[in-house]
Symmetry: C2
């Protein structure tokens, strides 16, 4: 029935049998931290995956070294039950008992170097899909779920870095064909189905070229992303089609490289800050959120408050602070509230860079305070009043995978920020716009889960938005000394849960002090 | 040959003869400062112009009271020689000797109240032509030459305020028909020829409704200009045709009223600052220039660095200071250099208002650093190298009328700013962009003299630009302590005369101290 696969299986089996007697000695070969000796069952793996599980790039056999143990165990389970089809792996997996699987997984996981280092992420080719995605087709950047360096996030999103290109491409094709299944929310099946062969090769080459354990995105001075974009094939510089997610008749930013000139350098810095404010604007941020956590597609996406629409809408009067705000002041608000940090002073290089990046993205758009696509696309009010208990169920099913059971997010395996915290000390504070259930419901409905925007019902979106925002989070920086007074002055009781009693607890009454404590200072300031 | 006028002349003569015996007693009637008794010849005037020369509005006989003496004398001369045709005035003027003319002119001039007071300028109807002009047809605002309250500027630009509407309308028609001539540079003949009957009535009604001696434009809080604009007839709210001056294919700001809402109030404040920074942003300006001195048509006009084009061009890298400037920082530069003042701090209400005004004007324009119409329209380099001596001749013929023989400008008769100083202590300083001869030539060629843009030859524009900028002016605020070093660092010797020797004097070596001395503090700070 599957002649190609049968041939491959026979070939592989020959290799396997020929090398089955070789026992890997990880201690002698590996420079990682693992010091325990290989379990006996590893002999079955070494012939294809290498003696330290370092992969066989030529044959397309994947790296095992450094893969999270839980991920490895799940793969062995999947091979055994056929969710992941492989003529070679199926009998091997079935032959391994639960104890063997755990030992193997722990062994290979421990071999991986995970320390975050700085360096160039990749020189492996077109980085657009990997780093930016193609949101017009609901394809997020690969790095959004697999970490900024492909180091993987948690057990559900495996490392991609340093896997053989042939292996990565084969997996994407397996998702496309349905010979690999069992992915959470069927995300990879959906995403892979939207990829062309060229896309598959580009993504596979990109991550294959990242050394395992190397971390850190493009350096701020070298701006390699600019150079890479400038060298991108011409098909990649086309204006993307306006997909369903882009909204009807909405402006679409030109998809052209940032020029490498005096202005472009500042635009590029703005893009870097936007992608990773904790690295490029550290002194002003107080959590691990990124600008792109809410402003998806690097600030382009309709439905998640695109920056081009915001740029052409300011200066404008804001009820929030009762005066006309320039765009720069509006940016300050993001740092103060959403990033739970400190507003950069007007004229600060961080604000100038973000303003320049937003301007650059918006070039060609008309100045228009009512531009189509501004802000969020509000879903209709649901049939039933939003309900926390229903929201908790939605959260567990659709959100906890990435944001964690406790809403505290997940960092990538190399220590870089991964999925943002949705409540708690490391999330947006009570002054942020996302505190309003309407905004949260709008954002969730249109864009969550990643790659599945629009799949929740309106009711689900409202319910889970209420659930998320009914947890404690850092104090509103406008705190007046009294939760009740702060609520009365700054919060709309119909839309914000600040000051409301939930399970006997008054939200906002946490001991989290008002205002900002930057991450890098937080550890040292606890005692005073 | 002129039956209508002959009838009018007969009617007028009857009135004149019937009242010839009445002698005016100005001292008893007038509250002005004049205390000397009327010359005998004034009896001839009183019958039509009123006993104190206060006009006869019903008959359309103009106010003489307060008119500049030189202007009155020139009118009597014009009536006598037929340059200004009037069957009644011609024989009367011819009957008056030089001494009579001087006595009469001095007498009526002294009767006028000229103190600057605050108050609403007018409730006399559509103020668009009077206050804004119609630049698409090269019609400047009337107030640009006649003063912001129609109080007149110097001897060449007579007061219009409180003249009978019928008189003002008759004069505009006389300019149209050529029965009044002799105006400097034939400005009024040209401007009047571009007015419709509706325009004539609107302008005449507007100025007739301003009480003589009342000064001060629209109050900042009441914003009557907004209300008036909102009540303007619908034809006035149309988008103006893009005239020759508007440039080929350039954006044309929508001609709609500023809304009276929270944002509109700030926009309106920005417009007021733009029109009269010495009043609305006094602490930041150091001279009597207005933003509209260089940015004509309230910042709209192509050829004079329109604000809508600037707005959509920033943020941008500027060689002038070697970094990316936001629009707010660009505005700061205007205060520091062109206004010879102090930069308002970022976030200051003055900057926010000007940014809001510029944004409002630019609504609908695409963000585009290369938008058509940005900056100045540079004339081609002339056949001969620019020459100061030729420029001095052009200046005397075409510029001195308004800007004064010594380039120090002219205030209006009520004390409000009139024509800007082009050099000297009250002009832009050596750091301003207008110091560059190329910019000055471009501005002059396209827009000077007012209403006569484009009439100078390229050679004349370059020559006079060189002449203007070869005079001393306030020190460059970037002054390093040495003219030579400041020149080397900040001035392009091919375009700026700073540091160059002119008639044995090194420009920039004046004792004018670097930096800013605000007008309101200048008088008190001389001794310290």
């Amino acid at each position: 029935m599957f002649p190609h696969r049968a041939d491959a299986a026979v070939r592989t089996a020959v290799v396997l049998l020929a090398s089955l007697s070789q026992l890997p000695n990880a201690n002698a070969e590996d420079t990682g931290s693992a010091r325990r000796s290989a379990p006996a069952a590893a002999a079955s793996c070494a012939s294809c995956h290498g003696q330290s599980g370092e992969a066989n790039a030529a044959a397309g056999f994947p790296r095992l070294k450094g893969l999270p143990a839980a991920y490895q165990i799940r793969q062995l389970d999947a091979f055994a039950d056929g969710t992941r089809q492989s003529a070679v792996m199926a009998p091997l997996a079935r032959s391994l008992g639960a104890r063997d699987r755990t030992q193997l997984a722990d062994y290979y996981a421990a071999l991986g170097a995970r320390a975050r280092q700085s360096g160039n992420a990749s020189n492996g080719g077109d980085d657009r899909l990997a780093l930016r995605g193609r949101w017009s087709e609901e394809i997020p950047a690969c790095v959004q779920c697999h970490g900024e360096n492909g180091s993987g996030i948690g057990a559900a999103f495996p490392p991609l870095a340093a896997q053989p290109s042939a292996y990565l491409a084969a997996q994407l094709r397996a998702w496309q064909r349905g010979t690999r299944r069992g992915d959470p929310l069927a995300m990879m099946q959906r995403i892979a189905s939207r990829l062309s062969d060229v896309d598959v090769r580009a993504v596979a080459d990109y991550f294959a070229a990242i050394p395992a354990g190397v971390a850190g995105p493009t350096a701020p001075t070298a701006a390699p992303a600019v150079a890479r974009a400038a060298e991108a094939p011409s098909h990649a510089a086309k204006r993307p089609e306006s997909g369903a997610a882009a909204g009807q008749g909405a402006f679409v930013p030109a998809d052209v490289p940032i020029p490498d000139d005096d202005f472009g350098k500042v635009v590029q810095l703005g893009r870097q800050i936007f992608d990773d404010p904790g690295r490029y604007a550290r002194r002003y941020v107080g959590n691990d959120l990124r600008c792109t956590s809410c402003h998806l597609d690097e600030g382009r996406r309709v439905g998640s408050a695109p920056m081009w629409a915001a740029y052409v809408s300011y200066p404008a009067y804001r009820k929030k602070n009762g005066h006309v705000n320039t765009f720069a002041e509006r940016l300050q608000g993001c740092f103060r509230y959403s990033m739970n940090g400190q507003a950069p002073p007007l004229g600060d290089a961080v604000l100038v860079a973000l303003e320049s990046y937003s301007y650059w993205m918006a070039r060609g758009a008309p100045l228009d305070p009512n531009i189509a696509g501004r802000g969020y696309v509000k879903p209709p009010k649901p049939a039933l009043p939003p309900d926390r208990a229903r929201g908790a169920v939605v959260y567990a099913q659709k959100c906890a995978l990435c944001h964690g059971k406790n809403g505290d997010g997940q960092g990538a395996n190399d220590g870089s920020p991964g999925f943002p915290a949705l409540w708690g000390a490391d999330s947006y504070n009570w002054g942020a716009g996302m505190v309003n259930v309407t905004n949260a419901a709008a954002f969730i409905k249109s864009s969550m889960p990643l790659s599945l925007g629009g799949t929740l019902t309106d009711q689900e979106a409202w319910d889970v938005a209420l659930f998320v925002n009914s947890h404690e989070r850092p104090q509103d920086p406008r705190y007046t000394g009294s939760v009740a007074a702060t609520q009365a002055r700054f919060h709309d009781a119909d839309d914000s849960l600040y000051g409301q009693r939930v399970d006997g607890y008054v939200l906002g009454s946490s001991s989290v002090s008002p205002g900002h404590r930057p991450r890098e200072r937080a550890s040292g300031s606890g005692g005073s």
